[in-house]
Symmetry: C2
Subunit: 414 residues, 2 copies
């Protein structure tokens, strides 16, 4: 089965916003086993939207169009679809009731313009709105299907998962359930990870139809992710298949997996600290607050995070953390900072970063030199990284490297 | 003049990476006065790239295609263009010399596969590479033009500015220079800003051809930007027009402009502190290190930033910052934190944040309640914000609101 994605909005063509919807839709289509050969962006213009839809429908079994379902005169996706279907727009009572209900829930009067959102091409079914005001549309065109979704990312995603993917999955002859799980990794690049799991990829390929599929997604500061997708007869079967595949991959990936699905590095570290009943405090030099702000993003961080200090001026390191005079970018300094912040905040564990973010060298150390220090009741330790890139990259990768080092330490003790 | 953008890469169709190149190119085309009605994404497939290029060339005067110029067998944009031009690929000696030079500079041997990057469709001119290995291409097709650029964002942008926009500007009959300037604002939404500058927009519209144009770009945490674009006979004339327009807009925008072009909020604050010979220290509660990490991102921050502290546990606020017992989310607490961090770090100015990031209320205050505190030798002050949104949004918008509040204070004293 082949599908195409069409994003509607003049603001996309002017580059005023980046089209992230198409990538999201494409990724979910791929995970559902549906091919996507083309994606198109077009402005708020009936004739041009119509042309793009006709072209897409001539090449694909299904088209997902997003955007242009709002209440203003600019929003003309409905009109273009009606022209493609050769029908007129008619007021849909169910859709209107849905729009009215959204305004009632918000205790606001519905502007007359929002009635437009309940006009649907005759012959189309609506996808009831849950998050926003615009209902989605399912439009049959012979043996092809056209889906229209709102352009607001949250609304689009919810409707895609609820109404579009199941319908496409059913149409593409996938019996049962499609489910996926993301393994989040840090520490190796995409090609090194691919090498580690190469035997498994080969085995799955040989197993053919019905075997789990694995996709690599390079997510920058969130690491490289492996998405495992399975097709199964039931939700329970799917979960069992995912559990098995996760176990197999974890063995091959040897500690590089830090989280599953929505589990960020901070959430994982929080879980490990909570399990060990330990609290943490962080002293940062070149990372300048990124480590602690990353940790704070985990819900419930106040249970295990005592706080952090950014000692950007060298004399502050000495006064507040008790460092002695000497070069600041050394393993000894990183450990002294970790000990100092542990004491200052009364935490069980102290974590510290020191390094040269650049662009210039410092204390005879080139930009990209970075160290992390660790202190606990059991002793001290330090590690170092060489990080290529500009100032911001050094700080960001240094932050993730430091957190991952802590994560591995905590897992080893666990 | 009309142009289209085509992005090539199977990873785009799989949603493995988001296509930011197309938005960038579209924005620069719009600023150069060139219309763009369609953007297309297609995978690494010769027949499909050819089809997309033929369609685009049938609708537009120029097509900019990016991606697929790499050295691997997947990179087939060159082949597709040769088919569209009806010519063969030939080895270009200048292009080959360029590729070889890149490897010499990196002290690495050139893999044989990189010779592919020097094969260009007969009749095409190359755009010499400066940042990466792939040269760009300028391909005449009758009275139309096809440009091919690498997919690596930095390389693409450099070639677009250097070789594509000037050529398109000249072709579109724009005599002289096109220049633009970005006014970065914080504090008002896009529609409120548009209202403030409405009289000026109307005057420019009435002035017609030759008058500066103004575009609004909503940039999330970087604020709303106004891009002013002028066409002039010379670079000096363009600069004078931009200076005049900036002055007019600043008057209408009344303090909401915090920076120009690449001047971030942190860079602006650093400049104001440097001018006033003052140093800063930051105490953060709900923002959890975002304020200080934002400031550290400014080059040379060590000259004016003493450091910061994240007092996530309430008892740490009392021990290290000297707060007295009591509710932590108040103006008094924000000012006490600012005083405390000023003293702790020996800084001229103390800045503090306290609030409820959510999702739950705290001390009887709803999520989204946020305060900022200020302390200097001259006294203390506090302000409050109500921020809608989830935990991360509250922290991010609270950070920018706090920094903008500091910026306005420093400007007022300046």
């Amino acid at each position: 089965m082949r599908a195409e994605v069409v994003a509607v909005g003049t603001e996309l063509l002017l580059g005023q916003i980046v089209d992230t919807n198409s990538a999201w839709i494409a990724e979910r289509l791929a995970a559902t086993g549906i091919d996507c050969n083309y994606q198109t962006r077009v402005g708020d213009n009936v004739a041009r939207i119509r042309e793009v839809l006709v072209t897409a429908l001539s090449r694909a079994d299904a088209v997902v169009v997003c955007g242009g379902l709002g209440p203003t005169q600019d929003d003309v996706t409905r009109e273009a679809i009606a022209e493609v279907m050769g029908t007129a727009l008619v007021l849909d009572r169910e859709a209107l009731a849905g729009v009215e209900q959204v305004f009632r829930r918000r205790h606001r009067e519905m502007p007359a313009s929002n009635r437009r959102q309940a006009e649907v091409p005759s012959g189309a079914r609506i996808i009831p709105q849950r998050l926003g005001t615009a209902p989605g549309l399912i439009c049959p065109l012979g043996n092809r299907l056209l889906f229209a979704l709102p352009g607001v990312p949250g609304e689009m995603r919810e409707m895609l998962e609820r109404a579009v993917l199941p319908e496409l999955g059913a149409r593409s002859g996938v019996a049962g359930v499609i489910a996926s799980r993301v393994l989040r990794t840090w520490g190796l690049g995409e090609s090194a990870l691919a090498e580690l799991v190469a035997p498994r990829l080969a085995a799955l390929e040989a197993a053919g139809e019905g075997a789990p599929t694995i996709a690599f997604l390079a997510r920058g500061l969130e690491g490289v992710q492996l998405r495992v997708t399975v097709k199964a007869a039931s939700r329970d079967d799917a979960r069992r298949m995912l559990d098995r595949e996760e176990a197999t991959l974890r063995e091959l990936l040897d500690g590089n997996v830090f989280g599953i699905d929505d589990e960020t590095m901070a959430i994982r570290i929080g879980a490990l600290l909570t399990a060990g009943r330990a609290t943490l405090a962080v002293a940062e030099s070149y990372t300048g607050g990124l480590v602690v702000s990353c940790l704070v993003a985990a819900p419930g961080a106040s249970r295990w995070l005592r706080g952090g200090i950014v000692t950007y001026a060298s004399e502050v390191k000495r006064e507040l953390l008790g460092l002695t005079e000497g070069p600041d970018v050394t393993a000894a300094a990183a450990m002294a900072m970790a000990r100092g912040v542990r004491r200052l905040f009364g935490a069980d564990i102290g974590l510290a970063t020191t390094g040269v973010a650049g662009p210039d060298a410092q204390d005879g150390q080139p930009a990209g030199t970075a160290l992390a220090g660790f202190a606990s009741g059991g002793g001290n330790d330090a590690t170092s990284f060489e990080i290529p890139g500009d100032r911001q990259t050094v700080r960001e990768l240094g932050t993730m490297n430091t957190l991952d080092w802590l994560r591995r330490r905590l897992e080893a003790e666990h």
